[in-house]
């Protein structure tokens, strides 16, 4: 009896900290204009709990960016339900959503002349007045974001002088400064060498563990993602699988990720190899 009761309380507490941040039910995504609707993916079902690192993988052109655009409200969904923090995404105003969700996009910022500090400070925009003036609290959060991403020493440098790896960290710092529970990143590891790819993914992992952030990122680094992420979304033409990397390997989700003739997935090592 006693053991059972304890188990139950444990379960409840676990449930509290495992608060659901994103929930998709029968979601269809794609592009729609007056003439026609092109569905990119349908019957998408998954829910992500707070503090998890989720990697989205799939081959080129499968619709990873479309999915991320839909999840960040840059693209309207076609049908089904998409909830952020138990509220439909369409019910949020732009400002309210910017308090829940921050993004790191593949597109480079329009201006290259911003300093690191200026760019990261822009992340505070949803929280500042019409003049964008920063309070001490804002400054503390910006400083913390710079420290978390190891950028404090570079803060007065102009962005056009930074390397790709440093720039990626700056974009992540800006998202951190926006201070949202959920961060969505579109291919944060492209153009980086192995060392910096690993560094970025480790940074994301650290943020989920230490800051309890929920992070969803798309990537082509399947090996890295299998090793580090808590959950993975695997997009194939047939469906979108969502589970922990180990379960996905067991289910053979990675075997159908690419056409089999050139690369095959080795379940033992968790890596792809060229045939």
């Amino acid at each position: 009896m006693v053991i059972g009761a304890q188990k139950k309380t444990y379960f409840l507490m676990d449930n509290l900290s495992q608060h659901t941040v994103i929930k998709c039910q029968d979601l269809s995504i794609g592009y729609q204009n007056k003439k026609k609707t092109s569905v990119i993916a349908s019957t998408i079902n998954f829910s992500i709990t707070q503090g998890t690192l989720v990697a989205l993988v799939g081959s080129n052109g499968i619709g990873k960016s479309t999915l991320l655009k839909s999840l960040t409200a840059m693209l309207p969904t076609l049908s089904g339900s998409l909830q952020i923090d138990a509220t439909e995404i369409t019910a949020y105003s732009a400002l309210a959503l910017s308090n829940k969700l921050s993004v790191v996009l593949t597109e480079a910022p329009a201006s290259k002349n911003l300093t690191v500090l200026e760019l990261v400070s822009l992340g505070r925009q949803p929280h500042t007045n019409w003049m964008g003036s920063l309070t001490q609290n804002d400054k503390d959060i910006i400083q913390q974001a710079l420290e978390d991403t190891d950028l404090a020493s570079l803060k007065d440098k102009s962005c056009f002088k930074l390397s790709d790896g440093q720039l990626q960290r700056v974009y992540i710092a800006r998202a951190l400064a926006q201070d949202t529970p959920l961060i969505i990143l579109d291919e944060p590891t492209t153009h980086l060498d192995l060392y910096h790819r690993a560094a970025i993914v480790k940074l994301l992992k650290k943020l989920t563990v230490e800051k309890n952030k929920t992070i969803l990122f798309s990537t082509h680094e399947i090996d890295l993602a299998i090793q580090i992420s808590d959950k993975m979304l695997v997009m194939t033409p047939q469906n979108i699988a969502f589970d922990s990397p180990c379960n996905l390997i067991k289910q053979g989700s990675f075997d159908v990720l690419f056409p089999n003739e050139i690369v095959v997935f080795d379940k033992k090592t968790g890596r792809f190899s060229v045939t």
């Binding site: 840059m74 597109e107 201006s111």
Partner: protein, 342 residues
Amino acid sequence: MMLQKIHVRFFILLSLLLVVLVCVNISLGSVDIPALEVFNSIVGASSKSSWDFIITNYRLPKAITAIIAGGGLAISGLLMQTLFRNPLAGPFVLGLSSGASLGVAILILGAGAISGVFSSFLLGPWSLVIASALGSFIVLLALLAVTLKVKDTMAILIIGLMFGSLTGAVVAVLSYFSDAEQLQQFVFWSFGSLGNQTWQGIVIISLCFFIGLLLSVYSAKSLNALLLGENYAKSMGLKIKKNMLVIILATSILAGGITAFVGPIAFIGLAVPHLTRQFIKTSNHFVLIPAVALSGAILMLVCDTIAQLPGTVYTLPINAITSLVGAPVVIWLLVRKRKLIF
């Protein structure tokens, strides 16, 4: 992003430079007036009435027009560079001035078709402003509509140039069918001139300038967000359509209103924001807008001082001087930095 000490010092320096240049600009011309007399006359304690007359009726209005035109065009250039994410954007390059020209051409040359009382009513200063601002507003809207479809910044420049050619062609057709007197009026307008402004005209452009300035300052936070691009700006809670409309409105009031009175003036809008960025290391529009306005006013005063050829009775078209000064500046910046950034 607070005002830093270095910015404050920069603003004090610019303001002092502006005051000195106003005195120099007023004192030089076909008749040289000692700088001290200029000061006395403005304060209202002048000794010589002919100097007093020249100053209050010719030189002071011209200096004020130069300050407002330079400042306003520079701000509109800054807004367009951020809005179109393009370092080469400016009211002249993107065809805003051509749009304003078209508006004015239709008004001046078209008014010939309707003779009598109605045409003199049409040619009042307010209708000139409205026609010109409307012309540049339409060009801007068309440009923005294209920008939403075409994401290539190079394409926007080309489209701006095409709009320039198109409006130029329409103006050519209009001038072909109009009589000599109206044509002359239009040609003089298109040379650009800071002089011969009535005090009423100055009140109107000042009004355009302050409305444009207010709208720009109101938009400064969104302009800062737009430095990251539209998608980032949206993700930070910006109501993108509304804010872009306010920015476009500010730009067309500034560029259109000023062009209506002083004619199309090249290079101030394009070059001044880049020059300012050389001296002030920030991308914050709350600092850049006043800095660019001051620098624009200063450069315009310098150009005007050169244009009136001190010591002679000749005055060169101001548009020629701004191009002579502005084009080398842009080339020099490009060569030195290898690329223009904003």
